[in-house]
């Protein structure tokens, strides 16, 4: 039970324990990344080389970016399976923009990409929050529809790299001091959202909704609007992902981003965001993406056949979920102890 005023400061110990557990998720992932990194480096020193580190970061950036948005949605007890398709659509539209109008300002490209994404997200959000269609279904349908629309527009065309301005390509490729701009940009965004998720009331509402939807509604939280916004942000980030995609590859075909959805969800879950909402951090999700990417790259670097990639990812995913469950059970027990009263 909670100590009466003059009782020994049980909570302090408990709190420290709790906070550490709170961070444990992120720390755990960081640790995992480090371990994978070190082990691989031992097998192949080149893995620690500047270039490959640069590749690690760049390679994880897109998924991390999408993961950040997905995290918001999942925290609110929903899911967004359409991110991959949205990325594809935005990427291609931006590509054609450059192809058809030479010398359009790069800023416009970002506006277009993000705008398209946000629009898709808004539709998802409305269908979910207003029409009350389960987000799993809504975004599954959106996955089909948006992909179909993209393919329809593309129909076998491929953006000519020549038409993508070099300055724009630098965003996706150049680096400062071995840190790719891509990674810097994504890191800034992730850290920013992570901060916002701790710091602003609407963001906290998302946690409340995911934690206990009815109580949230009772407490006067505008659940519908919040969820819509979450989907919009997820969409917008996917759209931004599209912009970065084309700036990196300078060319797009209709398959861009297909299959990302499960990859992103996997990263988010590995990153410690509870699949049923209420807890988890954007930072964790991003780290999850980095971990997955580090592993797949390590496999190649360690000259393990790429054929092992999937199996290992899958096993890791299961391990992560189980580990989460284990931790949360432990924490709950600890919290009960700290809270004291046995409740039958």
């Amino acid at each position: 039970m909670t100590a009466v005023a003059d009782a020994p400061p049980v909570p302090d110990r408990g709190r420290r324990m709790l906070e550490s557990v709170g961070r444990a998720r992120e720390l755990g992932i960081v640790a995992a990344i480090v371990i994978v990194f070190v082990v691989t480096t031992v097998k192949n020193s080149a893995f620690a080389h500047g270039d490959s580190v640069q590749q690690l970061l760049a390679g994880a950036s897109l998924i991390a970016l999408l993961g950040a948005g997905e995290a918001l949605v999942i925290i609110s007890r929903n899911v967004d399976l359409s991110v991959g398709s949205v990325l594809g659509l935005s990427a291609y539209l931006v590509g054609t923009l450059f192809e058809h109008h030479h010398g359009v300002p790069i800023a416009l490209a970002f506006v277009v990409g993000i705008g398209v994404g946000a629009a898709c997200g808004l539709v998802n959000g409305i269908l979910t929050a207003v029409l009350r269609v389960p987000s799993l279904v809504v975004t599954l349908a959106a996955l089909y529809v948006i992909r179909g629309i993209t393919a329809l527009i593309v129909s076998g065309h491929q953006i000519d790299p020549g038409s993508i301005p070099g300055s724009f390509q630098n965003i996706g490729n150049a680096a400062v001091a071995n840190v790719p701009w891509l990674a810097i940009l994504v890191t800034v965004i992730v850290v920013g959202i992570n901060y916002a998720m701790r710091t602003f009331r609407p963001a906290r509402d998302l946690y409340a909704i995911g934690s206990n939807p009815e109580a949230a509604a009772l407490a006067g939280v505008p659940t519908g609007r919040r969820i819509c916004v979450a989907f919009m942000i997820s969409g917008a980030l996917a759209g931004l992902g599209g912009v970065l995609f084309i700036s990196e590859f300078a060319t797009v075909n209709s398959t861009a981003g297909s299959g990302y959805e499960l990859l992103v969800v996997a990263a988010v879950v590995v990153g410690g965001v509870a699949i049923f909402g209420g807890s988890g951090t954007v930072l964790g999700a991003a780290l999850g993406a980095l971990l997955l990417n580090t592993i797949s790259q390590a496999l190649v670097a360690a000259r393990i056949s790429a054929f092992w990639n999937q199996a290992i990812t899958g096993a890791l995913l299961l391990a992560a979920i189980a580990f989460d469950r284990f931790v949360s059970l432990r924490v709950n027990r600890a919290l009960r102890k700290q809270g004291g009263a046995s409740h039958g």
């Binding site: 909670t2 909570p11 602003f200 009331r201 949230a216 209420g278």
Partner: protein, 516 residues
């Protein structure tokens, strides 16, 4: 926005001047049922005021009107002498009234402080949440309540007691002046109750009013200055606590002729059906032993949270028991296996009809059949005909009022829902029926029917183990009464020995000689 101190007033008893909150002849009906016939009460700053009465006396309706959940049909509500009408909960909250429910609904994943300030978190520049200040404020509130809950810990895993404290803290942060506590101690251990009382005293000391609803009379004597008793939706009396005795209160609570209302008059007692031997569940109850014979009704009495339902569930196998044995007609039951218990002839009518008793979306027929699916099947197929017959048959025997058997049960009234649950189990012709709160939330008419039904059952040689929070029901129906107090069997009373006083005293732990 720091919680500001309510205007400090002398923490006296009944004061001069208009009461802080007053209700006069407030009435409320639901369809035909009149839930509140005369809601009258006056609450003054700095007092803790007990509202006592049996279940169905109208307490919770009165509370919900105060909370703005219901709008009264008649009568007036006054605050500081001014008549008011609460459009909704928000209005009542704005007026400084806040309700602390038995099980608060918190956000398990948010910190305690955020649970208190959700949507109202103190802001720094740029609409940023000022976490330091939020935690400081929360800590300050707790300090004022004289408790230390870590504001930074998540609400997940808080004991019910602590959850209530958090709710109270939330209320204070809303500048509440009247704290309505609906059975707050029901699920608390004595230590926690003590701490809650500390909090109540503090609140009084700071000039707030506390409306304290409880079945535990002695608690009223411990912390309340005045007592208002209600019965059958009507105001009975308001007196300073000094002017009252337990018996006096119980009399005015029960205050009606019990005989006649309850048909059961005892019946020939047969073979032992259920033998419970020193069963226990760690932290919930321990060392419970008793026997139920064919043709008798045994009641488990005690306060909410004394462990009555938990014992029943452990017997049926919903919860695993840690120690002891349960035997039904000589057959040992393994712990945690409801299927075996059912096979052995136990039927279990659970406390929570909506969550546990019925599948609300299924039809009457499917719900009645749910526990008998296999005996309704031939060659592994459910025979629709016999299923329908079973439901129709029991519908008739229980005088069930339904439109179509296929209609989902949530379309039925509480009483009829309860009949469906009974039908589900009786259709299995159990040799022992465990029935938890047989008539909770049921209109008086159906109540009587259920009681008659139970009587018929025991007459036909079925053994019944009944749990009820309603003293009159316990006294009226039971052949023997086993009184639990904080997870222990403290007293066994025969129908002859039992009266309100003896049961209440045992249930509230004022034991004069526990059972051997």
């Amino acid at each position: 926005m720091t919680p500001t101190e309510p205007a400090a007033r002398p923490a006296a008893g009944p004061p001069a001047g208009p009461p802080m909150v007053e209700m006069r002849q407030v009435t409320k009906s639901f369809g035909a049922a009149r839930a509140l016939a005369d809601g009258t009460i006056a609450l003054s700053a700095g007092e803790a005021h007990a509202l006592l009465g049996e279940n169905g006396a109208g307490k919770s309706t009165l509370v919900k009107i105060l909370a703005g959940v219901y709008q009264p049909d008649g009568g007036t509500v006054l605050i500081d002498g001014e008549p008011v009408v609460f459009a909704g909960p928000a209005a009542s909250q704005a007026a400084g009234i806040s309700i602390i429910y038995q099980e608060p609904t918190l956000f398990p994943d948010l910190t305690v402080a955020e649970n208190i300030f959700l949507g109202r978190q103190p802001l720094a520049s740029g609409r940023r949440i000022d976490h330091r200040r939020m935690y400081r404020d929360a800590a300050a509130v707790f300090a004022r309540l004289g408790v230390t809950i870590d504001p930074r810990r998540p609400a997940r895993g808080l004991s019910v007691a602590d959850q209530q404290i958090v709710e109270i803290a939330k209320a204070i942060s809303f500048n509440a002046r009247l704290f309505v506590m609906d059975e707050p101690t029901a699920a608390l251990t004595s230590v926690e109750v003590e701490r809650l009382f500390e909090v109540v005293r503090t609140l009084r000391g700071q000039g707030a009013a506390v409306l304290f609803i409880s079945h535990r009379l002695e608690e009223a004597f411990t912390i309340c200055q005045r007592v208002t008793v209600m019965r059958d939706g009507r105001f009975v009396r308001t007196d300073p606590i000094e002017a009252l005795t337990v018996d006096a209160i119980i009399r005015s609570m029960v205050g009606r002729d019990l005989s006649g209302l309850y048909p059961h008059t005892g019946s020939p007692v047969g073979e032992p059906v259920l033998q419970v031997d020193r069963i226990g569940r760690i932290g919930v109850f321990s060392d419970i032993s008793f026997t139920v014979h064919a043709g008798e009704i045994v009641a488990l009495a005690g306060l909410v949270g004394a462990g009555r339902s938990e014992v029943a569930r452990a017997i049926f196998g919903i919860d695993k028991r840690d120690t002891g044995t349960v035997t039904v007609r000589g057959k040992r039951l393994p712990p945690g296996r409801p299927q075996v218990a059912m096979a052995a002839g136990i039927g279990f009518v659970p406390e929570d009809r909506r969550q546990q008793g019925l599948v609300m979306d299924l039809g009457v027929d499917h719900n009645v059949a749910l526990a008998s699916l296999h005996r309704l099947s031939r060659f592994g197929l459910i025979r629709r005909s016999s299923e329908g017959r079973l439901a129709a048959d029991w519908g008739r025997r229980l005088q069930l009022k339904y439109d179509r058997l296929r209609n989902p049960v949530w379309t039925l009234s509480g009483g009829n829902q309860q009949k469906v649950v009974l039908g589900k189990w009786l259709s299995r012709e159990p040799s022992l029926l465990i029935i938890d709160e047989p008539t909770r939330g049921i209109d008086v008419g159906t109540k009587a029917e259920v009681h008659r039904l139970l009587d018929e059952l025991v007459q036909s040689g079925v053994a019944v183990l009944m749990i009820s929070s309603e003293l009159p029901e316990v006294l009226g129906m039971a052949d023997r009464i086993l009184v639990l107090h904080e997870g222990r069997l403290v007293r066994e009373l025969s129908r002859a020995q039992a009266d309100e006083g003896s049961v209440m005293r045992a249930a509230t732990g004022q034991t004069e000689g526990a059972v051997a």
